[in-house]
């Protein structure tokens, strides 16, 4: 296999060269696709570590490429890099299965940091559908079902649920959850995990997640 491969899908040549150069400095091997069709072709049987995806492309948008990947259960982490900074676009991108969303212009260091975070989260992530009681979570297509009802979760709520589902019956410390969701920030300190847990209980049932006071959260009976 050799060096880990990154697929860069970007139609602007100047930006493409800069990003590729930065990634190579960081010792990644980079393949480039300049349009949607080339990206679709490149993604077949290549086993990329991650995809950097521009949204506005010739021959099929980046969102089409992403939806296509997720539809055929290709769980390759995808990071959207785009000039579309509207919140609606961002949410559509994440809903389509992107792992992160970066708005142009961005610092190269920021891109590398986000890429590392995406890869770390993807590492060890299981692809098959997870079940607990009447709840099922499809990590690739990012679909959560409660019985036969589709439940809409925000990106962070989904990551919180997935982290707890993967560790069923174990107490997950709050700091560990923060690390899994944000990738370990020392700059931002927040109470948001509590809010996600609250929303998950509201959407999936009060008794689903148990609070272990002063420590963390657990999904499922203690093992």
């Amino acid at each position: 296999m050799g060096l880990p491969n990154i697929l860069l899908v970007e139609d602007d040549r100047m930006l493409c060269d800069v990003i590729a150069a930065a990634l190579q400095q960081d010792s990644w091997h980079v393949d480039v696709a300049r349009d949607g069709r080339a990206a679709q072709t490149a993604l077949i049987d290549h086993g990329y570590a991650a995809v950097l995806l521009d949204l506005g492309l010739p021959c099929g948008s980046g969102l089409d490429v992403l939806s296509g990947m997720r539809a055929r259960y290709d769980a390759t982490p995808a990071l959207i890099i785009t000039a579309r900074d509207q919140l609606g676009d961002r949410i559509r991108g994440l809903d389509a299965g992107a792992d992160d969303y970066l708005v142009k212009p961005f610092q190269v260091e920021e891109l590398l940091a986000r890429l590392r975070a995406v890869l770390r989260r993807a590492n060890g992530q299981v692809a098959p559908v997870l079940h607990y009681q009447n709840i099922s979570v499809d990590p690739v297509r990012r679909i959560v079902m409660r019985g036969d009802q589709h439940v809409r979760l925000s990106m962070h709520e989904f990551r919180t649920l997935l982290a707890l589902m993967e560790r069923q019956g174990r107490v997950v410390p709050r700091s560990h959850l923060e690390d899994l969701i944000y990738g370990g920030s020392t700059t931002i300190e927040s109470n948001t995990i509590a809010v996600y847990i609250h929303q998950l209980r509201r959407k999936l049932g009060d008794s689903l997640i148990e609070t272990v006071h002063g420590y963390g959260y657990r999904l499922g009976a203690e093992r």
Binding site: D85, Q86, L87, G88, R90, I91, V103, P105, Q107, E109, E110, A113, S154, M155, H156, Y182, S185, T186, T187, I188, E189, S190, N191, T192, A194, V195, I197, H198, Q199, R201, R202, T211
Partner: protein
């Protein structure tokens, strides 16, 4: 597209033609009746006079001795020819007849009175009268063709006259309609012939009172549009000026960096260049935001403000880390109604503002808490703050706090204020953290109550 003018003209013309036809039919019937009355009276009079002027023994007179007018004398069968026969009733013999009249009875049944009969392929009007002793009967007849001929002549004459009148009326209607619509046509041609961005008022003088309000409201709209276009032009000019400065800085820094002899010498200038590029990028983004909220907003939806804050705050993590800043976030769930993209612009501009003015090593606190039936978003920093006197103006476009170390565009907070206004949110400013710095508080009306988080 139906034309008012065309509709008015054809309606008026239709009414005139209808009335003309109805009046014509009525007059024809009246005339026809009157004419046949005259004809009957003529026949009756002729027969009666003939009867009364004859000797009482006329029925005894032999038919042979009948007098007749000499040939060629007036009274040949003409249009108004009337025939007359005198019959002896007992003998059923023709006693006297007008020359040219048939010798068979005009009225074969010999009953007194009027009748219309078919004779020799023609319609005839016939009258018969008998004397009191019932010895003699006088029969008089006239072909109907005489009557219809007369009627036809009258009818043609009337038709000709009234058609001319109708033509004159139609022409007059057309002219009157055109004359009445002249002011409207003037407005129309004034509108179609103008330039795309010519927003001067339309001519309203001399307009009829039905059209005047329409043109007046058009003119009010044009005035508002002109004002808006003027503001936008000023904004574009201002924005271009704003962009020019950082671009000039970039160019200068790049040239200085190129002239540096070693990489070490170049590095500080390159750092400056990066900051300059970031500043231009932020400015272009804010101009973009500004342009977006100019448009009529998309439909509003329920929005979980906490989700937006946690999603957007990550955009600032890298720069905050580089500036050794710390951010604390405390959010509570709560829904507000709004336009997702605009709320996103508001949150990201408030965060950007606080992090830029907090300075190196500063701290920014973001709180989103429930307060009665409002959701209170506050973003506080511990930077140098804004003097009391300037706080009222910081939401104006292109306004900058004098002597500030940071080079802001003066657009961000004006966007925040406009979005807050369009979402019925109350916005206020105050001190920041620990008695210093600056804080912005936005209170959104909250929709739908939810139980507090555990």
């Amino acid at each position: 597209m139906p034309s008012l003018r065309g509709r008015l003209f054809s309606a008026l013309l239709g009414i005139f033609i209808g009335a003309w036809v109805a009046a014509g039919v009525y007059l024809y019937l009246q005339f026809a009746q009157a004419s046949s009355g005259t004809m009957d009276r003529g026949l009756e009079e002729l027969a009666n006079t003939a009867l009364l002027s004859m000797p009482s023994d006329i029925s005894e007179v032999s038919s042979r001795s009948t007098l007749s007018l000499r040939s060629g004398a007036p009274g040949r069968l003409e249009k108004t020819e009337r025939w007359i026969q005198v019959w002896s009733k007992e003998r059923r013999a023709l006693v006297l007849w007008r020359r040219g009249a048939p010798t068979t009875p005009l009225k074969p049944d010999f009953i007194d009175g009027f009748a219309t009969l078919q004779m020799a392929g023609e319609q005839w009007r016939v009258y018969a009268v008998s004397d009191a002793s019932n010895q003699v009967q006088v029969q008089a007849g006239q072909p109907m063709s005489a009557l219809t001929e007369e009627l036809r002549t009258g009818l043609y004459y009337a038709l000709g006259i009234s058609s001319l009148a109708l033509l004159a009326v139609g022409l007059a209607v057309k002219l009157v309609v055109r004359w009445s619509f002249q002011p409207v046509m003037t407005v129309q041609s004034a509108m179609t012939s103008r330039e795309a961005l010519d927003l001067t008022p339309l001519p309203a003088a001399g307009l009829p009172s039905e059209v005047r309000p329409l043109v007046d409201s058009f003119n009010r709209l044009l005035a508002r549009l002109e004002e808006a276009v003027h503001v936008e032009r000023r904004f574009i000019v201002d924005a271009a000026h704003e962009l020019r400065t950082p671009l000039a800085v970039l160019l200068g820094q790049a040239q200085v960096a190129r002239r540096a002899r070693t990489l070490e010498d170049a590095r500080p200038v390159l750092d400056q260049l990066m900051r300059g590029a970031e500043r231009s990028a932020r400015l272009s983004q804010q101009l973009l935001h500004s342009a977006r909220i100019e448009r009529p907003a998309d439909p509003q939806t329920p929005i979980e403000l906490a989700d937006i804050i946690t999603m957007l705050i990550q955009d600032f993590e890298m720069t905050a880390t580089q500036k050794e800043q710390s951010i604390s976030v405390h959010v509570e769930p709560g829904l507000v109604r709004g336009n997702l993209d605009e709320i996103g612009i508001l949150v990201s501009n408030v965060l950007d503002n606080a992090l830029r003015y907090a300075g190196r090593g500063g701290h920014v606190a973001v709180r989103c808490v429930r307060e009665g039936n409002t959701l209170r978003l506050e973003v506080l920093d511990d930077g140098p703050g804004v003097p009391e006197a300037d706080r009222g103006r910081i939401f104006d476009r292109f306004y900058r706090v004098a002597g500030s170390a940071e080079s802001g565009s003066g657009i961000g907070l004006s966007l925040v204020a406009r979005i807050a206004r369009s979402h019925a949110a109350d916005i206020s400013t105050g001190p920041g953290l620990e008695g210093r710095g600056f804080g912005i508080v936005v209170r959104f009306p909250m929709i739908e109550e939810r139980p507090a988080p555990p």
